[in-house]
Amino acid sequence: MTDRILVIEDDQRLGTQIVEHLREAGFETLWRTAGELILPGALPGFSLLVLDLMLPGKHGLDILKHLRTYSQVPVLVLSARTSSADKVRAFKLGADDYLTKPFWPEELIERVRARLRRPAMQRGEPLRFGGLELDLGARLASVRGKPVELTRVEFDLLAALAQRTGEAVTRKWLADNVLDPDKEGTERTLDVHVSRLRKKLEGEELIETVWGIGYRLRGGSPR
């Protein structure tokens, strides 16, 4: 289902740009230019609010304050004001994010997506990453339905990456938290384990090397 996003921005050119980019990114948008309070039930079903602060009529923070009396919908504040006091005030009134102008449209889209992203892990259910299925509770892994035998370290390594899917994890953190401290728990050893794990996953290019950091499990972040 497409997320609906309400945009409140009084500048015609900037508002048009924002709406166009959100639509191109696959969102349904509703654009308002006036600074008016949003009454409960007036705009049902929107998933996020992009809110400018300097609006004709009501100030954006007044709109936010009123909205927070009855709704917890995520709010991304846009403002040309860069002082910490403004940001802190917006956060205290219930803003979820604060984007200062000027900004690139891609940044706005990324921030909107980050706010709408749902939890990737659901307790008790097996996780799926392409052809890989991982049952953390039963400590079982299978590729395209075929069980894969993993050592303790290999499974822990895969589980550590799966628990932070899409995020780069440093080799040092993996070495410290996955490898057996009594044995040779170096980053070099970790690289060997990763190499073996990749082979066992039979061509599923899931474990990605991240330059300067470590590894990342890609593609397993169901929305």
Binding site: P102, E107, E167, W173, V210, W211, G212
Partner: protein, 490 residues
């Protein structure tokens, strides 16, 4: 009004009423004593023989004739001079005062005796006297003094005599010394006061001169007034006030200078990337007019310049605040992961435009710090932006935040760009260590942003380290203490 004149008038205004009151009191006491002595004298005279003569012939006694006759049974001589009377010396003795005698009820056998008020007679106790209003016809300059004898019987229970003015009261004496003595004393007192006030006036004048002098010369106030009295305290207060005022003025001037420099530098620094941007856009426009395809590299270069201008504006604004000594940090509890997340979000699109892969890693646990949201975003953002800007296409930038030893965090920004030569890196380190002006740009372009980062890090108690990266570029490390975990919800 001058201080001396004020002192003089105040002294006179206070001293005069006091002197008059004391004089009045002294005179009243002296008069009382004089009356008492006179009463005692009259009673003693009566007791020593005059009573007998009086009771024998009250009328003759009253007329005073007996005083000029040889002593006899009824002859009563004039009363001896009362205590305190001036010696007769060579002067002729005054005539004896006339005496009138009365019964205890106030009636007299002497037809010349003045009538007495019955109330006054009743109120007079034995052995006491009372000055009556008016005068006596025989002695108009004497006040009538009525004395009640210690006895009530007979025609001589009350005696009315002429009561001479006390000698001390003659000639305008108040009491004690004459008036001119009092005037001399008062004058001496005033003169002494003025003499005592002279050093005070002199010190106040000197203080005024020095304060005026330092104010006009705009020099730090160093006043010569010494001591522990109020004037010395006033002098010290002037010095302190002067110091505070000068510090305030200095801060204002510093701010004004910083603002002026900010405007000048902004105009200069923005003009360069703006010119480059205009050149890139001009090329794109020419190609479009010629019907040629738009060069992606040109557009990317134009976008990079807008990024640079945006970064420059933010840093110049911060530099102006820092150099004015008013960074205005608003400290609060933050999770550094969220700060870094926002910085990465901002720079991902910039990195993509530059063809640089920007990656980051965060620890799963919060990294609580106490800091200013905007300042920290800017401090970290500058380092990340430098790593992107001073990289090459297809280059890499990795940003790693980790928990370090002893409750500290470690934030590393590593790139594989061309980096800095050993000499340039050393120069940059020296400039940062010496705290050279945040505003000044280095030849490599790292200067301003890194100096802002250095300054903001210092204000947060963080450390900034620079080293050649193992991948060929630069490795910038920020370390600082973790704080108590932030409140949930942010």
């Amino acid at each position: 009004m001058k201080l001396r004149l004020r002192l003089l008038l105040t002294t006179v205004a206070v001293a005069m009423p006091i002197a008059v009151a004391l004089a009045w009191l002294g005179r009243a006491l002296e008069e009382r004593a004089w009356v008492d002595a006179r009463v005692q004298f009259v009673i003693e005279a009566m007791q020593q023989g005059d009573r007998t003569a009086c009771e024998a012939d009250p009328v003759t006694f009253s007329s005073g004739r007996a005083a000029h006759e040889p002593p006899g049974d009824c002859a009563v001589g004039p009363p001896p001079a009362p205590p305190g009377s001036p010696p007769e010396g060579g002067r002729r003795a005054p005539p004896p005062p006339r005496r009138y005698v009365y019964r205890s009820d106030g009636t007299s056998r002497d037809p010349d005796a003045p009538r007495l008020d019955a109330e006054q007679v009743r109120g007079l106790r034995p052995g006491t006297g009372l000055i009556l209003p008016g005068g006596l016809s025989a002695e108009p300059h004497h006040q009538p003094l009525l004395v009640r004898m210690p006895w009530d019987d007979g025609p001589c229970a009350l005696v009315l005599v002429g009561h001479p003015t006390p000698p001390a009261f003659e000639g305008g004496h108040l009491f004690g010394p004459p008036v001119y003595v009092w005037l001399i004393i008062l004058g001496s007192f005033v003169a002494g006061l003025l003499l005592a006030a002279e050093p005070v006036v002199r010190r106040v004048r000197r203080l005024t001169r020095e304060v005026r002098g330092t104010a006009l010369a705009r020099l730090p106030a160093q006043l010569s007034t010494q001591g522990r009295d109020e004037i010395a305290e006033l002098s010290r207060t002037f010095e302190e006030a002067g110091r505070e005022l000068r510090a305030h003025l200095s801060a204002l001037e510093q701010r004004e200078t910083a603002l002026r420099e900010f405007v000048e530098n902004t105009s200069h620094d923005v003009a360069i990337p703006l010119t480059v941007l205009q050149g890139e856009l001009s090329s794109v426009m020419e190609r479009l007019r010629a019907g040629e395809p738009v060069d992606g590299a040109r557009v990317a270069a134009a976008m990079a310049e807008t990024n640079y201008i945006a970064s420059l504006l933010r840093n110049l604004s911060a530099a102006a605040r820092i150099e004015a000594g008013q960074p205005g940090l608003q400290l609060e509890d933050l999770d550094l992961r969220e700060v870094l997340g926002r910085v990465m979000g901002r720079h991902q699109s910039i990195a993509r435009q530059a063809g640089v892969a920007l990656e980051h890693a965060l620890p799963p646990e919060p990294v609580p710090v106490r800091g200013d949201l905007t300042a920290l975003e800017q401090a970290v953002g500058n380092v990340v932006y430098n790593a992107i800007r001073h990289n090459r296409r297809d280059g890499h930038v990795a940003v790693v935040l980790e928990h370090g030893p002893r409750g500290h965090f470690v934030l590393r920004v590593v790139d594989d760009g061309p980096g800095l030569g050993a000499e340039e890196l050393e120069q940059l380190r020296t400039d940062l260590a010496n705290g050279n002006q945040a505003r000044r740009r280095g030849p490599s372009g790292h200067g301003l942003g890194l100096r802002i980062t250095q300054e903001l890090a210092r204000l947060h108690g963080w450390a900034l380290g620079l080293a050649p990266s193992a991948h060929g570029g630069l490795e910038v490390v920020l370390t600082g203490p973790c704080a108590a975990p932030p409140a949930p919800g942010r």
